[in-house]
Every structure is written in C-alpha cells, then in structure tokens.
C-alpha cells in the first residue's frame, strides 16, 4: 500500500502542477532572473564568471526550488484535502514519500531547464563531468526536498506559510548547500575525485540522516 499510495499522490500532485503550471512558471522565471542578474552584477575585471558559478548555481536551485515546495501542501490546504488523505489507507509514510517524489520531479525539472542557461551565461564546460555533476545535484536535491517537504507540511497551517518556509528551511540547508557548492567548484575545476570524498560523505550523511528523520517526524506533523 505504501508504494501504491505514494505513486498515486505523486502522480496527482504532478497532474495538478501540469495543469496549473503556477509554481513551475514562477520557479523558472525566478531561476532565469537570478542567473542573469548575478551574471551582470559582477565586475568582470575583478571576479571571473567561473569563480562565481558554483555559488550562483546553488543559490538559483535553492531559491527556485523553495518556491515550489510550498505548493505541495498548499494544494492539500485548499479544501482540507489532507483530511481526505489521512482518512484513506495511505500511511503517513506513503503521503511523505509521495510528496517527496512529486517535489523531486518538480525541482528536478526546474534544475534541468536552469542548467543549460547556467552553462550559457557562465560559459563553464560541464560536459566531461556531467554524470558526476548530475550525481551531486541529485544528492543535494534529495536533502533539500526531504527537509523542505517536512517543513512545508509543518508551516502550511500557519497564516504566512510562504514566508515561514524559507525562514525555517534555510538554516537546515547550510550543510548540504555548502557541500554542493564545494563539490560543484571541484567538478567544474576538474579536480580529482579524492579531493571530493569528504564533501561527498557529508552530503551523503545529511541525505540519509535527514531523510530518515523527516520520515519519522512526518506522522506527528500532520496529526492534529
């Protein structure tokens, strides 16, 4: 039941997003704006585009993704649909996994569209390192989405959920985002894998610990 429920919930969330496209369009416009503004804001004689690139990439992914994370539980608040999910045989684990899966696809698509724009603006050669870069993006996205999904379930009942989510989420994101920036810099600079293992371990540990913690806490969060 857990997997069937999770798949049904993820499919439903993506169907709603596909139809409305509100969160996707806002995230995408935001991503393009951040990439462009930060590119043109730098002094080209003092800071090279390459030096800025890893930080810009993760600021873009983090904030653009955050715009979408709220949406996952706002659709459940609309007509108190979360009550419907809780009355169904879908366990809290299934609801959490479904929401995480939907959010990963959503954030993944935003990242997939932003990445070529990032390459275009910052003129970085990622092609030789694509598998490694995609791996790091995937690991950081899982960390970001797992904690973000839990917190968005927590803040959705508050009046200012759109404001509350970044305030609560950003402190948790420091370890995975710093790891992702460090790893991205090393990947773009074509550094050997041995230089990355420490950061990869940190990111991997964060993924495992926070995914399991979020899963365990979710039941308490959605129960009144």
């Amino acid at each position: 039941m857990t997997w069937r429920g999770a798949v049904a919930i993820a499919r439903k969330d993506l169907a709603i997003e596909w139809r409305t496209k509100t969160a996707f369009m806002s995230s995408l416009v935001f991503a393009v704006l951040v990439l462009a503004v930060l590119f043109f804001a730098r002094d080209a004689t003092a800071v090279s585009a390459f030096d800025m690139a890893p930080g810009v990439l993760w600021v873009t992914f983090t904030f653009a993704g955050m715009l979408g994370l709220n949406r996952a539980f706002l659709v459940e608040r609309e007509n108190r649909s979360l009550d419907g999910l809780r009355l169904s045989p879908a366990t809290p684990t299934a609801i959490f996994l479904g929401k995480v899966a939907g959010n990963i696809v959503f954030v993944g698509v935003v990242e997939l569209v932003s990445l070529p724009l990032f390459v275009l603006f910052y003129d970085v050669a990622i092609w030789r390192q694509v598998p490694l870069l995609i791996g790091v993006i995937a690991m950081a996205t899982v960390a970001f989405v797992a904690v973000g999904t839990l917190l968005s379930a927590m803040v959705v009942r508050t009046r200012f959920s759109e404001v509350m989510l970044p305030v609560l989420l950003l402190p948790f994101l420091v370890p995975p985002i710093v790891s992702a920036v460090q790893l991205t810099w090393r990947i773009l600079a074509d550094r050997p894998l041995a230089e990355m293992t420490g950061w990869l371990s940190l990111l991997g540990s964060f993924d495992i610990v926070f995914f399991i913690l979020s899963l365990l806490l979710f039941d308490a969060i959605i129960t009144e």
């Binding site: 709603i16 139809r19 659709v75 609309e78 007509n79 108190r80 419907g84 045989p89 009144e224």
Partner: protein, 227 residues
C-alpha cells in the same frame, strides 16, 4: 431497518480540548450496524468536532474511540482538488483505496454528475460539489459513514437522492452519524438522535415513538438554552 447490536463505533468518555477550552466533553456513545445517529444542536456545540474525533482526524484529549470498520466522511470542506476533473478526483481516491477503477463512473452516474464527469470541479456549483464529496465518501463502500451537514447546498432533487442513498446504506447495515441542522429532512432516515449542548451529548435516544414535532421542540429548546 436492520439495526443490530454489532457496534461499529464505540466512544468512551471522549473529551477534546483546544488550549484551555473544552470543545467536546465526556461523550460516550455507540453506533451499531444499521443505525443512523443524528447529531443536533446549536452552532459551536461540538457536533463537527465529535465527527472529526470519530473519524480519527483529531486525537481525543481524554477517553477513547474505537472504529471497527472502514470510515467514509463528508465534511464542511469537500476534500477535493479544484484543478482536477470530477472523474480524476474520484479516480485518485479509488487508487488510494485500491478499488475497482470502474467504481468512480458508477458513482458519478448515481449522483447525477454523469454530464460533468470530465469537467474541472473549480467550475462546479456548491450542490454539485456536495454530491461529488458524497460520492468520494462512498467510493470504497465504507461500513461507517460520518456526514457533516450532508444536505448543505443541495436542491430538493439532490436532497432526495442523498436521503434515498442514506436509507439504502442504513438498510445494508452501515453505521451512519450525521451532524445537521436540517433535522426535519433527515428524521425519517434516523434511528437515533443525539442532542448536543456545550460539547456534551445531553440526550441520546431512539427516534422510534417520537413524532417530528416533539423532536423539533426539543431541538428548539436546546437552541434557546444555548443563547
């Protein structure tokens, strides 16, 4: 009627508090297969909260509730997704419950929504939404049905369909709890009536042997006491 002594809902000394305010106080009741319990009382007397407690959506502060069968619920809010069509909404619930994919169409026909099957529910009237919410609650054929103002927003024809459906469910041995102000319309379906005042169930008695006038007078007296 097939009321049996097989209780599907057992509430024992249930109380629920929000902050310092007791919303539901020491309610003990059972609802058996084939029973339809009407919960009546003024606004803010704890009817909706009791329904949510029985559904398991909130945990009682004191006491316990046993549900011995699957629950279907119609609440104030539809629990539906505005961006999806009527069929997509029910198909999603059908997938969650693992019921036959043909069941949503069957229920949409039954509730008179066949023509609106592929229409986004954001365009539905209040009455259509209420009928769809009822279809949603019945999709997995629950033996316990909890209804909060089920006739709200329905026209005469819609009300007749719902009352007919409730009679059928009662005769099939479902346990039904209905919180309502539309006492007269639902009195014929009911087997029991529970009067609520200040979070307590002040009286729980069978409907048989009482005429509608007596019940309505008791209800009005409670409303006046509450004011």
């Amino acid at each position: 009627m097939h009321a049996s002594s097989d209780p599907l809902i057992v509430a024992t000394d249930v109380s629920w508090r929000v902050g310092y305010r007791w919303i539901v106080r020491q309610v003990s009741t059972t609802v058996s297969a084939g029973e339809v319990l009407l919960l009546v009382g003024g606004n803010g007397t704890g009817k909706t909260s009791l329904i949510r407690l029985v559904a398991g959506l909130v945990r009682p502060t004191k006491g316990a509730i046993q549900r011995r069968a699957e629950v279907g619920m119609v609440a104030h809010h539809t629990m539906l997704y505005d961006a999806l069509t009527a069929h997509e909404n029910l198909a999603f619930v059908a997938r969650l419950h693992g019921v036959d994919p043909a069941r949503p169409v069957e229920l949409l026909n039954r509730m008179g929504l066949a023509k609106a099957i592929d229409q986004r529910i954001a365009t539905f009237s209040r009455g259509m939404l209420q009928r769809l919410a009822i279809a949603r609650a019945l999709l997995h054929e629950p033996r316990v049905l909890l209804l909060d103002e089920p006739l709200s927003g329905l026209d005469d024809a819609g009300s007749r369909v719902v009352v007919g459906l409730l009679e059928e469910l009662r005769d099939q041995g479902c346990a039904v709890v209905i919180a309502t102000h539309q006492l007269v319309e639902l009195l014929d379906v009911a087997t029991d009536i529970g009067f609520m005042a200040a979070g307590k169930m002040v009286e729980h008695a069978p409907v048989a042997g009482r005429d509608a006038g007596q019940v309505v007078n008791r209800y009005r007296a409670l409303l006046e006491e509450g004011q």
